[in-house]
Symmetry: C2
Subunit: 224 residues, 2 copies
């Protein structure tokens, strides 16, 4: 397939996974439309700052920052409701309180609308199924089903593929892959807390640090 | 099934179809959580006014009004981009310019998040497949696929059914049904234009008026 002028919508949080995903899409030759969501998450300002830096480094052709303040009215997650503490004692069984109800369903639906407007053929999302927090909206069965829903619910001429290159990678494989592609990991933010440096003890920090440890690499960001 | 205390999220625009849908859900015995979206559509203020009046008449147990301003950044529709005129010469072949990219996919995804938070078991949406504008996100195949996606992408204990009672009804059947259930049609707004009275010539007004005509009934709202 000739990818010249083929557009991909890359959903990018400013974190390690979605940044690697976007670099992989770039390597495949797509023109990148970067899409970032402010969804009333604790680390909104930090993630947005990282997203912008990454967009520069990646030289995207266009970027959208969309405000989804309504997430605060839904709440029901430690990420979007500040009255719920971020767990710091390590991952436990079941869906953690940091799960944001159907977040990726909402993100993919909005990305689909943007893809239809931009005539993009690909939506990239950095979901990781194993070696992650166990969020139900990060499973490949769900993403595959959403791809079908999106193609059924848009115009006949709109044909969208959802690309989830990390879904079955471990965090250490993600780190190795990112290092190989020279992804600027120093620009990424994964921590669930909104502090000067990453906390190192929330689930997201633990997963990230463990990935670096197993990859025998040093995480370039600062920790408390 | 005992529906006592069973909650349903009813997506309600303030229009005739979704209002009838909500009344049908009420008649089935569900507790109703009304959900309205401001999505930068031309008739935002009018629809919200109607929604509030209908919520009072329907005696809903809870209601949410969520702002989706980002639709204006996506645009690509005469409803969300004021530089595109609303067509007034009658329905033509194909998907009309009033189609808002993947609107119902976005609405259903957000409704799913709310259903998960509220522990609701049903989401009602007033889509009409035939006798409508031909929007791809109003087809039953799409809605059924979204139901599957939503159940795959939410917690195991979350089980959501999407109810689309009008999908295969004609507009005249909708009018007849609404009259039978004493739906306060005088409180509903369907017109795509934001004027004092309904225009009578946009696709939505034409479909509505034709429904009343075929049902041998008089539309109680005012037309220009």
């Amino acid at each position: 397939m000739n990818l010249k002028n083929k557009k991909a919508i890359c959903i990018m949080s400013g974190g390690m996974d979605s940044t690697l995903g976007a670099y992989m899409v770039k390597e495949m030759g797509y023109e990148i439309v970067a899409l970032h969501f402010n969804y009333a998450q604790r680390t909104e300002a930090k993630e947005l700052f990282c997203f912008k830096k990454i967009c520069e480094a990646l030289n995207v052709s266009n970027s959208y920052v969309l405000d989804l303040d309504f997430f605060s009215k839904i709440g029901a997650s430690a990420l979007t409701d500040k009255s719920i503490d971020i767990p710091i004692n390590g991952l436990e069984e079941g869906v953690p309180i940091t799960y944001v109800p159907f977040r990726n369903g909402i993100f993919l639906s909005i990305a689909a609308a943007l893809a239809e407007k931009e005539e993009a053929v690909l939506i990239a999302i950095g979901v990781v199924q194993e070696d992650s927090s166990g969020y139900p909206d990060c499973k490949d069965s769900f993403i595959t089903s959403m791809e079908q829903s999106i193609n059924l619910g848009t115009k006949d001429e709109t044909k969208i593929k959802i690309y989830m290159p990390l879904v079955h990678l471990s965090k250490s494989q993600i780190v190795e892959h990112a290092l190989r592609l020279n992804v600027p990991l120093e620009l990424t933010w994964s921590c669930y807390k909104d502090e000067e440096a990453a906390c190192g003890v929330c689930d997201s920090c633990r997963l990230r640090l463990n990935g670096f440890r197993l990859a025998n690499a040093k995480d370039p960001i600062e920790y408390m």
